[in-house]
């Protein structure tokens, strides 16, 4: 017997229902709506990205191997240090593939084109510091196929290299992997020291990027119960006092990965229970993953609703054709079709243009705001540059060469700040664009309905589902980053909206790589730019440290200027994608409606020649379809109630 109170959204069942709706549509329209079917993929997959972060040797890799139940899946640190990121996903057969970074100059090469399948034995030469010092082989990450049941419903686990106090690398990993993580597991252990100062700094930074941080204390069985408990209390104290987390918000698990792996060997339930893994697994499945699933299910159902509405409209259209059972009715219907077509064309040439104009004005305003904000932070003399200046002025007492030594840490800090700004701005942009595109879709469909629509003439499936207030509400929620996925596709009821929505991911999609390159090690560039100046000052040692400060500031400003240019290009790319997607969607909407009109004309012609028997059969078929639609709709409604 089970005592679990309320069923969770079952993504498999949602995807199944969505598929049946799509197959039914295909049966009626005679053509598969590939776009609709492609929206089922994410629901079927139920992607959940779990990123494991922590200092070297704390037991990250062992934890992942235990979680997946596969010993040796990712290399465990004994005397070699892991140097690369492992991304682990489900596959029936185990395997490793190295993905290389694209050559810096070669901007055209696509990600994923440079890859190499390797055997477990080769992991050493690509994935460790010894085999691949300073990442001279330009490894981006290693993909790991794992036949592990826990990964079967879309869980992806990311193992990050152990970083021992190396601040710069911490940052790079954080900014590249945390923004899109559904959960970050921060690993500490029971034996060595409690959470230290470097980790506290790191966690503070991490918190600015994601609130979804959970704590795992490993190696529990290496100490006694009292020691583990003390360590945990100590750590929680540090998290509340130094990192600033609220005690009730902290989720903290104590596990022993070795014990779990031993239990796996002979399926020993006692070892499993002692390992501390069951409550962690349960939390991962029923709390973390379940709430993500709920979002995915909501988005999927919304998509299916718009399909259902299309189907209903199509059935109505077919009905109106068969019910035109006299020559008079048929010619009246024909006349109606002609008028509608006329109006639609008029809408296309007048209102659509007007809407696009409005849209551009609004989009431009958003663009100006965002780019303004970015520029204010990054430009020479802007916020970040000023912060660098302040830091430099505190170094007044240092010797010139010591000041030059500040170039690297200061530029790293500046770039981290830049990355932060870019992430925040891209999130803001996504929220505001969601609202704008939603409003456009509602307006377009609303005005088409009032100017050109008459019942059964064109497919009015795309009628408005959201009021302005609802849109505003959703847009406001979209500002909370975790709701992005939901807002992005969930916002739109209409066909145009769905078309547009596909483009929104492009905003974040084209900014994150920029963040990546900005954090990438271009510090060399800064120093190179400074080199002439440094030698010059070597030449005349009498120069004041003020000159050194000026030169450092100038070098970092130059670097910031470069970042700004990159950021502007990235954002511009996103804006352009969104604009053209929006315009395309509107044109598609008109084209679909015109196609439908001409279909109806043809069917009407066939109708006039049909025998009574044929008409009777068609009527029966339509009746059957209505029954089927009602049944599917019933399931949809029930499912929606389940999601609350």
């Amino acid at each position: 017997m089970t005592k679990e109170p309320k069923p969770l959204p079952n993504l498999d069942a949602v995807a199944n229902l969505m598929t049946r709706v799509g197959l039914f549509d295909e049966q009626i329209v005679g053509k598969r709506d590939e776009d609709y079917f492609s929206s089922i993929g994410p629901v079927a997959l139920g992607l959940f990205r779990l990123v494991v972060i922590g200092e070297i040797k704390k037991g990250k890799s062992s934890f992942i191997n235990a979680l997946c139940g596969i010993p040796g899946l990712v290399p465990v640190h004994d005397d070699v240090a892991t140097s690369t990121v492992f991304k682990i996903h489900h596959a029936p057969e185990p395997g490793y593939t190295v993905f290389f970074q694209p050559e810096a100059e070669d901007k055209t090469s696509e990600i994923g084109t440079q890859k190499l399948e390797i055997s477990e034995a080769d992991l050493h030469s690509y994935g460790t510091e010894n085999g691949n010092p300073d990442n001279e082989k330009r490894v981006d990450f290693i993909a790991v196929c794992a036949p592990s049941p826990i990964l079967k419903d879309g869980l992806i686990v990311v193992d990050t290299p152990g970083v021992g106090g190396l601040f710069k690398k911490h940052r790079e990993i954080t900014f590249r992997h945390a923004p899109r993580a559904d959960a970050v597991f921060f690993i500490t252990d029971s034996v060595e020291s409690p959470i230290g100062a470097a980790e506290v700094d790191f966690l503070k930074e991490l918190r600015r990027i994601t609130p979804l941080i959970y704590f795992v204390q490993t190696k529990a069985a290496q100490v006694d119960a009292e020691a583990r408990r003390k360590r945990m209390e100590n750590n929680i104290g540090i998290l509340t006092d130094k990192v600033g987390l609220k005690k009730e918000e902290i989720r903290y698990f104590v596990v022993d990965s070795k014990l779990k792996s031993e239990g796996d060997e002979d399926r020993n339930l006692e070892d499993l229970e002692d390992s501390g893994f069951p409550p962690l697994m349960s939390y991962l499945q029923h709390s973390l993953k379940a709430s993500k699933d709920r979002n995915i299910a909501t988005v999927g159902l919304r998509r299916a609703w718009s399909k259902i509405a299309e189907i209903r409209a199509e059935i109505d259209r077919q009905k109106s054709v068969v019910s035109a059972d006299t020559a008079e009715k048929q010619s009246a219907f024909n006349a109606e079709l002609a008028t509608t077509e006329e109006k639609l064309k008029q809408w296309n040439s007048e209102i659509r243009i007007q809407l696009i104009k409005e849209f551009h004005t609004e989009a431009q305003a958003i663009q100006n705001d965002i780019l303004g904000e970015v520029s204010e932070a990054l430009r020479v003399g802007g916020r970040i540059s000023e912060q660098v200046g302040e830091a430099l002025s505190e170094s007044r007492d240092l010797k010139p060469e010591e000041i030059y030594g500040l170039v690297e840490p200061l530029s790293a800090a500046a770039r981290a700040e830049v990355s932060q700004v870019l992430l925040e701005c891209s999130q803001k942009l996504e929220g505001r664009f969601s609202a704008l595109l939603g409003a456009l879709s509602v307006k377009a469909e609303g005005s088409i309905a009032t100017t050109a629509l008459s019942r059964g003439v064109i497919n009015n499936a795309t009628l408005i589902r959201f009021s302005d207030a609802q849109l505003r509400d959703l847009a406001a929620k979209a500002e909370e980053s975790r709701l992005f996925d939901r807002a992005r596709t969930g916002l739109y009821g209409g066909a145009a909206g769905v078309g547009i929505a596909m483009g929104i991911g492009a905003v974040v999609g084209s900014v994150i790589p920029v963040v990546g390159t900005i954090l990438g090690s271009t510090a060399g560039m800064v120093i190179a730019g400074l080199w002439g100046g440094y030698q010059a000052s070597e030449f005349s040692r009498v120069k004041e440290s003020a000159v050194a400060r000026q030169q450092v500031q100038a070098a970092i400003d130059r670097d910031l200027q470069g970042c700004l240019t990159q950021a502007q290009t990235g954002f511009q790319k996103a804006f352009n994608t969104l604009r053209s997607r929006a315009e395309e969607a509107l044109s598609d909407m008109v084209k679909t409606s015109l196609d439908q009109l001409s279909n109806t004309r043809q069917e009407l012609q066939q109708r006039s020649r049909a025998t009574a028997e044929e008409v009777q059969r068609t009527k029966q078929q339509i009746h059957g379809r209505e029954q089927m639609l009602a049944a599917l709709q019933g399931e949809m409604e029930a499912m929606e109630r389940l999601l609350g």
Partner: protein
């Protein structure tokens, strides 16, 4: 009267097992199905796998969402339907699929007059829904006995009942108990080899559920099973390169 079954309850009866923990019914029901697919999986092993993956917690049991995961872990594909109709369930049995459902045990089991009273009380006070008395038990539906169409019967393998192999309940009673899981079922997407032959024509079955609504109007039915295969193929054709590059 002519005997008329959908499914193969007799064959499945031989694979029934009584659950060995108070709350591992769903796990044991899956182990019993695994053995029909030729896997030698003990109850303890199945319990281990479920617990290690968060699909079974002692004291809580298995969440309906996780029903079928143990089967999947051993490579038996499944699909799930919420708010299913009895016709959909029959269509699965007809294809030899193994079907698990969530039920409210109190409504299913005969536990004397008081149990009947509470069932009645919940019903008349409008509390007979998944919100108030959620499903608390998982059983396998092994067959439908339609010999007497006026009194259809459902045949279950119930891991929670000492005489649970091939238990027969009136359809009404089963529906009342099943409703509390929002008519959830999880079905294997294939039939085990060695199962009995299936020769029932679904079109003979009365009623107009989602699956068979179209049948009587000459439409091809769209079954949960077809959709399930589609969904499973979507997952196995995931473009992982693109997914991984984007995280």
């Amino acid at each position: 009267m002519e005997e008329f079954y959908i499914g193969d309850p007799d064959y499945q009866q031989g694979h029934w097992q009584l659950q060995n923990l108070p709350d591992n019914c769903a796990v044991v029901a899956q182990a019993s199905i695994l053995s029909q697919f030729g896997f030698d999986v003990s109850m303890d092993e199945a319990t281990y796998v479920a617990m290690a993956n968060g699909w079974y917690s002692p004291g809580f049991g298995t969440s309906p969402d996780d029903l079928g995961n143990v089967l999947e872990a051993y490579g038996v594909p499944t699909h799930s339907v919420d708010f299913a109709s009895i016709e959909q369930l029959a269509a699965e049995l007809q294809q030899g699929h193994r079907v698990l459902v969530g039920v409210n045990s109190g409504e299913l089991w005969d536990q004397g007059p008081m149990a009947e009273f509470w069932n009645w009380f919940n019903e008349v006070t409008g509390r007979d829904s998944s919100t108030f008395t959620p499903a608390d038990h998982a059983v396998a539906v092994t067959g439908l006995d339609l010999s007497d169409l006026n009194h259809p019967q459902v045949i279950l393998n119930d891991p929670g009942h000492p005489d649970g192999a091939g238990q027969v309940y009136p359809l009404d009673r089963f529906m009342d108990a099943w409703e509390n899981s929002d008519f959830h079922y999880t079905s294997t997407s294939m039939a085990p080899g060695g199962a009995g032959p299936i020769d029932f024509d679904i079109a003979r079955f009365l009623g107009l559920g989602t699956t068979v609504a179209g049948v009587s109007f000459g439409l091809d039915p769209i079954t949960a099973d077809m959709a399930g295969d589609f969904v499973n193929s979507l997952v196995s054709n995931t473009d992982w390169d693109a997914v991984l590059a984007a995280i």
